[in-house]
Amino acid sequence: MTNSDLLDSLDADSFYVLGADIADRKAPQVPIDRRWYERRFRARLVNPANRRKLDVIIVGTGLAGSSAAATLGEAGYNITCFCYQDSPRRAHSIAAQGGINAAKNYRNDGDSVYRLFYDTVKGGDFRARESNVYRLAELSVQIIDQCVAQGVPFAREYGGLLDNRSFGGVQVSRTFYARGQTGQQLLLGAYQALERQIAAGTVEMNTRHEMLELIVVDGRARGVVIRDMVSGAIETHFADAVVLATGGYSNVFFLSTNAMGCNVTATWRAYRKGAYFANPCFTQIHPTCIPVSGDYQSKLTLMSESLRNDGRIWVPKSGEDKRDPRNIPEADRDYYLERIYPSFGNLVPRDIASRAAKNVCDEGRGVGPGGLGVYLDFADAIARLGRATVEGKYGNLFSMYAQITGEDPYKTPMRIYPAVHYTMGGLWVDYDLQSSIPGLYVTGEANFSDHGANRLGASALMQGLADGYFVLPNTINDYLADGPFPRIDASHPAVVDAVEAVRARIDKLLSVNGGRTVDSFHKELGRLMWDYCGMERSEEGLRKALTRIRELKNEFWSDVKVLGTNEELNQALERAGRVADFFELGELMCIDALVRRESCGGHFRVESQTADGEALRDDDEFAYVSAWEFEGDGGRPILHKEPLVYEYVELKQRSYK
């Protein structure tokens, strides 16, 4: 027995059980550039006349949900769509700023599908599935065509052709953008296509409706239990297949760049019904966010990473130095990124920049309220380029910063701090985007995705739209070809149980009537996750977090205070249900992080580092996807490993020194 086997068995005693390995069986065994072509050909089709007899439920209307609903509606299926917002146009994809990658090679700079594939696998620190990433790179090209045809106003050059920029350390210019609002414009394109199908009668849209349970009948996903957030009515909806496009779970940290309503409930409920949850501990932390200013803080705001092109990051050499930053002489400043990483300096990847900021703050040298911030200084850039040039490049970001903080970044250095903004983990899916429950499909950020342990900039929008416009509409037919499945109604025992479970939970939340608000629990959970399951993890810390999360979860269920009734718009009740699921997710994230005893992507495991303190990946032990199976409340989750095989990209250790 090796040392690591021994540790595994020790862990297994307390936190999890090791199950059988799993594998994706849908990607055809042909050369990688033929796989998607082959899969589409092999997938069974549904006759257009039969499509209208098939019902598909889609939950979530961000890029992955709206695009799927519109496309499947156009194909003639009966779609029922749900979102918790008051309009599908408000899903959080709308907040993506930077851009969308596509291997168009319009710049003639050596880009190709293969290069985008290669960059994405490498950027993901070799924890993504090659087949899926290759397909993503192939489809990137069609996404841009589709969006332009819909009227997405991408930035253009004077000749009328599309402009590109480079992003996130890659050496080609392949990012298409619409000023700082690319997500908004892409989402509005998908939203308009969706609204067109609503008008055409192929899609029934339900806004202010939240999914609270998945209905599984005879081993197939057959419907959802939904709460009408205005009336409180608990509804059941049935279909031949269910698609979850419900986004990520960064809000488990309470403070993140996600919208207030973003939550894990839909995917978590599916996990509890048998869908495997993959790589839950893989989260992405963005280095350039506006720091927290006080306890009342409700969310964090991201500023584009492009700021690091011209800004210099520093903290005072001494933690005692509380002078106005403008009065701190050069000799007393520590430009720590330039010092530690001389060749990349302020442009090291997101994960390294984030962790370095945390380290200097942990040393007591952080700046601003609570010592949780570092300076991002444009004084040199303004002296070198002139204020007008800096304003031209970053004017909108500077004014956003000024509006939020009340400080003028042209005169005093900005303060920044890392924040969680994306989760690479999510429900496990095969090449068809089908989860481990037949008939349950998962798209966009909600699945464990194509980004491995770290997502490259401008790749989230690409993945959401690839899944929704092109992948799902060419794979779900293979499943629906067996349908329509036998009709079910509200009297089916599985449905009765699901509805009962939802009602019981709501009743319980409303009846505790304890002494603490939902947000106070959420903040405490978030703090635990940030401290122990954020950028830096240790065996000791994760075990401590697990103990405390379990205690806190019990306190929540015995001391939370939710006023009002179910039969009304009740925002505290909505939040309470989401936070209850965040507790369970937080526990699984910590277990997953505990098992993954390696540093990879943005996740630094203190037990796995090089002699000079850099992240050390362990491909021999951990080149796999962790897919977790639910084993009942109080039971230990089962870990299924999907070994990752690299046939095309050579495994390499990253170095930025």
Binding site: A149, Q192, M260, K561, L569
Partner: protein
């Protein structure tokens, strides 16, 4: 700082509402306006009083979910979204009135939360380009002059918050509608449906009960994305052209607001 808030409370769509008075103390100037309401709601909850319902989501000014009338002005004293308004815009001792959007097509659901579904139905009536997935030519097949692309983008930045309606004495949604007409009408891809689009969207706008535009311009004064009034001129030009051309540009479908027809039997 210490503040007095007078906030619109209304239990349900049909309930009678009223302004309720709350005193909040120790408000930090760095709080956003919505965070100040969060703090008040935490206190109300612990006291056993029903917290104030208000909508918000991204809290970074882009999703368009939030929207309050603050001291009589949609989104308050700065031309931004409510979520981007900070307490440093107020002073110790201020009395602040907080109300929901007020317009007949935006019925109140609870307290400060309104139903803006009418906006989605206006988009359904033509606010799109019919380009089913998979039918697109190469993105470079049709160059678009930069000037047109930039102006289309400026109009497309509308976040659909509804401040334009809340500010308009006529309760008109013309700025919202015109922003979409302008965005799509400036692009070559939007030309085939340009005239049916304007007729369809306007018919739906009117069917929803929004008022007409009399060029007052209150809408542009509060629009957080600074959509210009000239978009409405553009809409009017397209509408006149569409109607001059005759019957071929009438909407593909009749306006869809069944409730409205029921309310007006004659």
């Amino acid at each position: 700082m210490n503040l007095t808030l007078r906030i619109w409370r209304q239990a349900s769509p049909r309930a009678k509402g009223k302004m309720a008075v709350y005193h909040v103390s120790d408000v930090s100037e760095h709080m956003s306006f919505l965070e100040m309401l969060d703090v008040l709601n935490e206190r109300l909850t612990l006291q056993g009083d029903d917290p104030i319902a208000f909508d918000s989501d991204c809290r970074e000014g882009i999703c368009g979910t939030c929207g309050l009338v603050i001291n009589g002005v949609a989104h308050g004293p700065l031309q931004t979204t409510t979520c981007q308004l900070h307490m440093r815009s107020f002073s110790d001792g201020d009395v602040i009135d907080v109300e929901p959007w007020r317009a007949e097509p935006f019925p109140v659901i609870k307290d400060l939360v309104v139903d803006r579904g009418a906006f989605d139905r206006i988009i359904q009536a033509g606010g799109y380009i019919s380009a089913p997935t998979g039918t697109a030519p190469d993105a470079h097949a049709t160059p678009v002059p930069k000037r047109d692309a930039d102006r289309a983008f400026d109009a497309a930045t509308c976040i659909g918050c509804g401040a334009c309606v809340a500010a308009c004495p006529n309760g008109s949604a013309m700025l919202f509608t015109a922003a979409k007409i302008t965005h799509l009408g400036l692009l070559p891809q939007g030309q085939p449906e340009r005239y049916s689009r304007v007729v369809g969207m306007l018919a739906q706008h009117d069917a929803e009960g929004f008022g007409g535009c009399t060029n007052i311009g209150e809408c542009t004064a509060v629009c957080p994305k600074e959509i210009p009034l000239e978009t409405i001129s553009r809409l009017n030009r397209d509408l006149i052209n569409a109607l001059t051309h005759g019957g071929s540009h009438w909407p593909k479908a009749a306006p869809i607001r069944e409730e409205l027809e029921e309310e007006e039997p004659d």
